[in-house]
């Protein structure tokens, strides 16, 4: 089977862009990715595009060029970009295409996501009575985790502070004002124990990748980034997951993150000890802490010491969310995971500027998680 490599990345800044349609942000990101790869839009043979707010994101061809290219819309909630990349890579691996794109774009209104529970197959009373909120799931999961594994409120604050500091060094990030752990701990509680500055917010942005066959990469770049594996998993019965009116008693069942992570490591023939830099879904500071363990990067409870030691900082043993993560960038759902890939590609190329991790990183890892209990993992390498 032919291997797929990433030869171009493009990122429209994440934030608020009044008057700018999501499709235009997406087109900007694609043009950046095409220029980075040194290819033209008419050369693209196929692609996958994801968005939450735009019903027909494939209408982007009206901005990029009406070449007849098959551009397929995909959606898996917060894991959407994992699917777009996986399928864009698969189309190359199977020999269907030689050059593909993965695109994500979104433009969310301010505030928490609001939807009728019926979209998740849940009765109306769940929403009427104030239970249909993803944010309080995150509060409940980290509260239990802190109780079981001895994680402190200060560690939550340190994680948020790190991501805002990383975002401050990233001119495409949204929240670029550094905050000390003390300032994070002084912000109001939204869902105990999580505070305002421990949560990411839905916003706007776009990202795009250009992929090609590994054996043709030399035509475009001297530093292709290999797509070593992709995995998507949905929740299994017994796992504690977002938007669950109830779940069964019994032995704890692993989250879809754990399932996707194990599958991705196995497919890649790469272990957690080989990962040089990681982008983990930090919907909130607690999620980053839990996801460190769920992705095999540490054991449950070790985060307390690792975060205190700075192990997840740029320059630490296992840097996490070097571009500011979701906390620093916000979450345009369709684009968020491609923003993660963009950062890993820069880090593996050694072109991440002031936030470049030291040494010669070879393996990068990205992870997404969201409603209704779905996780996507991608492992990349030089």
């Amino acid at each position: 089977m032919t291997e797929a490599v990433i030869i171009g990345v493009g990122l429209h800044p994440f934030g608020r862009f009044p008057g700018k349609p999501a499709l235009d942000m997406g087109a900007d990101a694609v043009r950046l990715a095409l220029a980075d790869a040194g290819v033209n839009w008419p050369q693209i043979q196929g692609g996958y595009i994801g968005s939450y707010e735009v019903a027909n994101p494939d209408a982007i061809v009206g901005r990029l060029g009406l070449t007849g290219v098959p551009l397929r819309g995909v959606f898996n909630g917060c894991a959407t970009a994992g699917t777009a990349l996986a399928l864009a890579a698969r189309a190359i691996e199977t020999g269907e295409h030689d050059l593909t794109v993965a695109i994500g774009l979104d433009k969310h209104p301010r505030g928490a996501f609001a939807a009728d529970p019926s979209v998740a197959g849940i009765p109306s009373w769940y929403g009427q009575t104030g239970l249909f909120l993803t944010t309080h799931f995150f509060g409940m999961k980290i509260n239990r985790y802190m109780h079981e594994h001895g994680i402190s409120h200060e560690t939550l604050a340190r994680v948020a502070s790190k991501n805002f500091r990383n975002a401050a060094a990233n001119d495409k990030a949204w929240r670029r004002t550094p905050l000390t752990p003390e300032e994070v701990l002084a912000s109001p509680v939204l869902n105990y124990p999580l505070r305002q500055f421990m949560y990411c917010g839905p916003n706007e942005g776009a990202a795009a990748l250009v992929l090609c066959r590994a054996d043709q990469a030399h035509r475009y770049t001297g530093k292709p980034v290999r797509v070593r594996s992709t995995a998507l998993r949905s929740r299994r019965l017994g796992a504690f997951e977002v938007q669950s009116p109830s779940f069964p008693v019994g032995e704890p069942v692993d989250s879809p993150t754990v399932d996707a992570s194990r599958a991705a490591y196995e497919l890649a023939g790469i272990g957690p000890e080989d990962v040089d830099v990681a982008q983990l879904q930090d919907t909130d500071a607690g999620s980053e802490i839990i996801h460190m363990a769920e992705n095999g990067l540490c054991k449950d409870g070790e985060q307390e010491r690792l975060v205190a030691e700075g192990a997840t900082e740029i320059g630490g043993r296992i840097p996490v969310n070097t571009d500011g993560g979701l906390l620093g960038n916000g979450e345009p759902i369709g684009a968020s995971g491609l923003r993660q890939i963009h950062e890993i590609v820069l880090q593996l190329r050694g072109t991440a500027g002031t936030r470049q991790i030291p040494g010669t990183p070879r393996v990068g890892y990205t992870h997404l998680y969201g409603a209704p209990g779905a996780s996507a993992v991608t492992i990349l390498s030089t």
Binding site: G111, A112, F113, A115, D116, Y192, P245, S246
Partner: protein
């Protein structure tokens, strides 16, 4: 003067409850594999059976985790009062049955702890335009020594 009350949904919990008839959540049990579900589910997510029977769930359990809701949820779907009062939510483990998500009557996280005994109760959470109180289920901290 009496206040009229109505449940937020039919067949979610026993209604009306009386002093000698504490409320119970209405779940279901798979007739083939025995999996307990709440709310009652016609199909089993473990064995895919379509044969289920009604089951009243235990009215007592222990608090497995909790959080607070300190901002007013978006409306729709939330239909609570405009004047928002923070509330707590949690998962309560009903032994041998399931863990159920519910509002908690105690809004102060400092007065909640994982493992604490809880009992089911019903609470009005909003009032309709005609003055009818809409009732939902919630769990209240229970004294350790109560039978």
């Amino acid at each position: 003067m009496t206040t009229t009350q109505t449940p937020v949904a039919e067949d979610l919990f026993t209604w009306p409850a009386g002093p000698d008839d504490p409320p119970r959540l209405i779940g279901s049990e798979c007739a083939d594999c025995g999996l307990v579900s709440f709310p009652a589910a016609p199909d089993c997510v473990r064995c895919a059976s379509t044969d289920s029977k009604r089951r009243l769930l235990a009215g007592r359990g222990t608090l497995w985790t909790y959080t607070t809701q300190n901002f007013r949820p978006p409306s729709p779907p939330y239909d609570g009062p405009d004047s928002f009062e923070p509330y707590a939510v949690g998962y309560v483990e009903l032994p041998g049955e399931l863990l159920v998500e519910a509002r908690l009557t105690e809004p102060d996280p400092g007065k909640l702890r994982i493992g604490q005994p809880m009992r089911l109760t019903l609470v009005p959470y909003t009032v309709q335009d005609d003055g009818t109180e809409v009732v939902t289920f919630a769990f209240a901290p229970a004294e350790e020594e109560t039978p």
